[in-house]
Amino acid sequence: MSKSYRDGLPISPEKFVDQLMRLKRGSIGRREFLGLTGLGVATAVMARELGIMPAPAFAAESLGDRMSIATWPNYHDPQTFENFKAETGVAVEVNVFGSNEEMLAKLQAGGSGWSLFVPTNYTISTYKKLGIIEALDMAKLGNFDGSQEDARFTAEGTIDGTIYAVPKNWGTTGFAVNTKKLAKPMSSWKEFWDTAMAEGDGRAMVHDYQLTTIGNALKYYGYSFNSLKQDELAKAEELLLKVKPHLFAVSSDYQPGMRAGDAWMTMCWTNDGAQLHRDIPEIAYVLGKEGGEIWTDFYAIPKDAPNKPAGYALLNYLMNPKVAVKEHLANGAPSTDARVNALLPKEVLDNPILYPAADLLKPLEFGAAATLTDPGRAELMARFKSA
């Protein structure tokens, strides 16, 4: 009988990491929480430093035995990485982030150690301009089939005809309403803002994010979500300052408030909308008929990736529709890939929160890089928050 130091341990290292990850995925493990704390990075680093990352059973020569990916919380099926490790021997260390800006800061500082990461559409041109990401070598991504992708989603990852990033999934930014508390049917951003100052007084939430909060205030007047025009932004500011005293909170962590019934209405991203509606059916998800935001999260490979072969291998693995379909079932966001949609169950495809009607999608705009980095909008947001 072989004796190992592991015998008789109360918990195996793998179990411990599992438990830790489960805790992290728990009801408070969202972007906001991780963003505030940097806990995602901390746990990932600890797992590595303490040597409790499971060692691979064998090491494939060209791929190495480990790589790391930077992504969002609750965004992958953990089994995907287990299966990848079983097939290739490469253990995947997952770093979870709270915002695109944090990812950018880490990559800009260099030595992030990531071989794959998940940026949102409006950051890709900035990454390219700063020379942080490289054009993808499509020969290594045999599982990706551009002809099966909706061009609306691939476009944001392609700059001057060169592919820098391939889509992971897409989504929208609308608002969630507790229809038991606010029975009046709503279908527009105008109604969202007006209700926040009337029946929804003290019960409405907006994101702590200038892109969406200012963008959706612009929609009240029918202006572009991405507007940088002085006069249009001034109107949006006027509205925001008027609404401010009536708000329940300015926070991107809106699930606790909505679930507890303290908040009745909130700006909301697709995944959260789907999760809230799944658990509390009276919470509806509404897309403003004036338009608003549509977004895509992409996969890209940093120029300084320490293990590019493994980065490509994992990306190619994730582009396999059979693998991707499990990812979508786990994280609940809609897919850009027709081959994946063909494999998804009917109730997912029929869910109007995930796959809204085409006429609702039509007026939606992708957030632009200039919108996100505009100093004027940042200052407007600061004035709104300090009002």
Binding site: F248, A249, P256, A260, D262, S386
Partner: protein, 287 residues
């Protein structure tokens, strides 16, 4: 003679080396870095771009509200902590039975083993609609909203920083010479005037230590107002987080950080002065 002096100096240097190295690497160097950032410019894509300008400092009025809110929150929060902490420290030091004292002290310190963030998140759920308001609904008090109110923020602050206030006051009261109290009573002072003239007066160094500790931490506080106040009131801490992690305007953030550090230093000096004067010109170290 000279040899022993040299040896003593070497010993002193060796003893101070780890702390000095630590402070240089983790305090002085970062401070120099943000001082340099603060006279720079924001790069077009965000971050830092070398320059020599005081534009960031000239722009400080754009965060005047945040400074003002912080300057109100810090002393008010520290005062609230003081009023809750003093009776507790008094009881622990002068009234609690000896055999209970250690256990009670441990009970005050134990919550510190859990991160403030976790404990604040717990309050978010306790004060949220499915927490205390749900319990109160059972006894007929309906539709009470506790979360995202100024009261919730104050509660979070007092809860989070209480031990930092209790411990220094406890230490100063514990050292109190009981004979002074007896002497005061013998000389005909009422319990109240004994408390004001002797107990309170002699515990002032502890009070000032606790007060400045809590106040300085509150100057940078942003988590509790964000989580329990709904992010509706904007503090310097929030402004810093936004500038570094959202709009990535590092130079402006650095200028604000430098200003905040200077303000903290002034607060410390003033607190030290007051404390020295009140406790009868005895020099008092703050920590």
């Amino acid at each position: 003679m000279r040899g022993s002096l040299l040896r003593k100096n070497i010993l002193t240097a060796l003893l101070l080396a780890p702390a000095t190295l630590w402070l240089v690497v983790f305090l002085v160097l970062p401070f120099i870095a943000i001082a340099i950032f603060s006279v720079g410019e924001r790069a077009p894509e965000g971050g830092y771009q070398a320059a020599l300008t005081f534009a960031q400092y000239a722009n400080l009025p754009a965060r005047a509200t945040a400074f003002w809110n912080t300057m109100v929150l810090a002393p008010v929060g520290a005062l609230a902590c003081l009023f809750v902490a003093y009776p507790v420290a008094y009881y622990l030091a002068l009234r609690a039975p000896q055999r209970w004292r250690l256990i009670l002290l441990a009970l005050i310190v134990i919550p510190f083993w859990t991160s403030l963030l976790m404990r604040t998140y717990a309050w978010m759920y306790i004060l949220g609609g499915r927490g205390i308001p749900a319990l109160l609904a059972y006894v007929g008090i309906e539709d009470l909203r506790l979360i995202n109110t100024p009261g919730a923020v104050l509660l979070g602050i007092v809860y989070g920083y209480l031990p930092l206030m209790i411990l220094p006051i406890y230490v100063s009261l514990e050292r109190l010479d009981r004979r002074l109290l007896e002497a005061s009573a013998d000389l005909g002072a009422t319990p109240l005037s004994t408390f004001i003239g002797v107990t309170l007066r002699l515990s002032l160094p502890g009070v000032m230590t606790g007060f400045s500790l809590v106040m300085i931490l509150l100057l940078g506080e942003y988590l509790i107002p964000t989580l329990l106040g709904g992010g509706k009131v904007f503090f310097i801490g929030n402004a810093l987080v936004d500038l570094f992690l959202q709009s990535r305007n590092w130079p402006f953030g650095s200028a604000i950080a430098i200003t905040l550090v200077l303000v903290s230093v002034v607060v410390l000096i003033v607190a030290n002065r007051i404390s020295t004067r009140l406790s009868g010109a005895r020099r008092v170290d703050l920590i």
